[in-house]
């Protein structure tokens, strides 16, 4: 018995120039808001951008982007064409979940990913941003399997506890030969150099710091406000530096 979906995934992703998987291993470090902000910045610069929210059990990028699943839905056309939101082709299970929680076990998460990748027609993209859920498990292994040329952008907070998981993720990705872009330290509150030193000691690239921005929460849901925050300015400068290399 052969699952035909496996045969089409490579084809579906074939016109994507660069895939950036935003990951941490740890929750609450700001992956989704950073992913959404990067997607918005790149789209504003005229790049063709897609955003895939792989946090199946608790997707949140739609909140950052101010997307209402009641008003916007993917288009059916020989598969699913993601709707365009603020210039971003946007795909999330939120379109099919409504406000319900999706209590998925590992195998079901793998199956959902396979389905999403098999039916979504991204077309030509300069960048596909992938927002990962917390955890180093089935989904991470599946992403490594299906996105063979992906670049991993790793987010941590300043917390030693968060970095303990990030360290494990970095070592795992490196062991598997994945392309690691580097580490961003988010929600920075003080002058500690702990994360920078630890990242450098691992031989990975420390990409920069994003300081805690007390105005960020109020800007979530309004992309205009979001893009004017200090948070977005710091994301922007890290991003341009990163894309130069």
């Amino acid at each position: 018995m052969l699952d035909p979906r496996l045969s089409i995934i490579e084809d579906r992703l074939s016109n994507i120039e660069r895939t950036i998987v935003v990951s941490s291993g740890k929750g609450g470090v700001g992956k989704s808001i950073i992913t959404s902000t990067i997607a918005l910045i790149l789209a504003r610069e005229g790049f063709k951008v897609g955003l895939l929210d792989l946090d199946f059990t608790s997707p949140t990028t739609h909140i950052a982007l101010g997307v209402s699943a009641e008003k916007i839905q993917p288009i059916e056309d020989r598969g699913i064409v993601p709707p365009e939101v603020h210039g971003i082709k946007y795909m999330s299970l939120i379109f099919y979940l409504g406000d319900k929680a999706a209590p998925l076990r590992g195998n079901e998460i793998s199956n959902a990913l396979l389905e999403v990748l098999a039916i979504t027609r991204w077309g030509k993209l300069d960048f596909l941003l992938v927002d990962m859920p917390p955890g180093i498990g089935d989904l991470m292994l599946d992403v490594l399997k299906y996105f063979k040329r992906a670049n991993f952008l790793i987010i941590t907070s300043s917390s030693k506890m968060a970095f303990e998981t990030v360290r494990k993720l970095l070592l795992l990705l490196r062991g598997l030969g994945a392309e690691i872009m580097g580490v961003i330290e988010n929600i920075k509150l003080d002058d500690s150099t702990y994360i920078r030193r630890e990242v450098n000691a691992l031989g990975e690239k420390f990409l920069g710091e994003i300081h805690f921005d007390e105005n960020l929460e109020e800007a979530i849901g309004s992309v205009e406000k979001l893009l004017k925050t200090k948070f977005a300015d710091e994301v922007r400068s890290i991003l341009w530096e990163l894309l130069k290399t």
Partner: protein, 132 residues
């Protein structure tokens, strides 16, 4: 999966089988179609006929419907999609991504979302017959 997207995946998979097996032509493909995705088999057949060319020209597709069955992991109750069919908007969501069934469906006996889809979830190619 949407019927056209599904047809594209089936054609791609069967073409790869033909290449790997050094087959000159594919004569017959048998598909097992899970009920849960509510695939319109007529649309699927039409899409397949439109896409089949080269080594697949004239191939016959046989389709077998597999009933969707569920088993509750908490109380052990078994049921079918047929018996407890959800409203149309939920059926449509399940049509695209069957795993959202876990968000929308519950065990009819104990209301748990912790159940397994014990059959009839996806689409499978169960046999391919060709000539060398």
């Amino acid at each position: 999966m949407h019927e056209w997207a599904l047809a594209e995946a089936i054609i791609s998979a069967v073409s790869q089988i033909a290449e790997r097996g050094n087959l000159r032509a594919i004569k017959e493909v048998t598909l097992r179609i899970g009920e849960l995705q509510q695939i319109d088999r007529e649309i699927l057949k039409f899409a397949l006929s439109q896409m089949a060319s080269g080594k697949l020209a004239g191939v016959k597709f046989r389709m077998k419907l597999v009933r969707a069955r569920f088993k509750c992991r908490v109380c052990g109750h078994k049921w079918t999609f047929n018996e407890n069919s959800p409203p149309n908007h939920i059926k449509e969501a399940i049509h695209f991504i069957p795993e959202v069934a876990y968000a929308h469906l519950r065990c009819p006996r104990c209301s748990s979302p912790d159940f397994e889809i014990s059959g009839g979830r996806g689409i499978w190619i169960s046999s391919v017959r060709g000539v060398k």
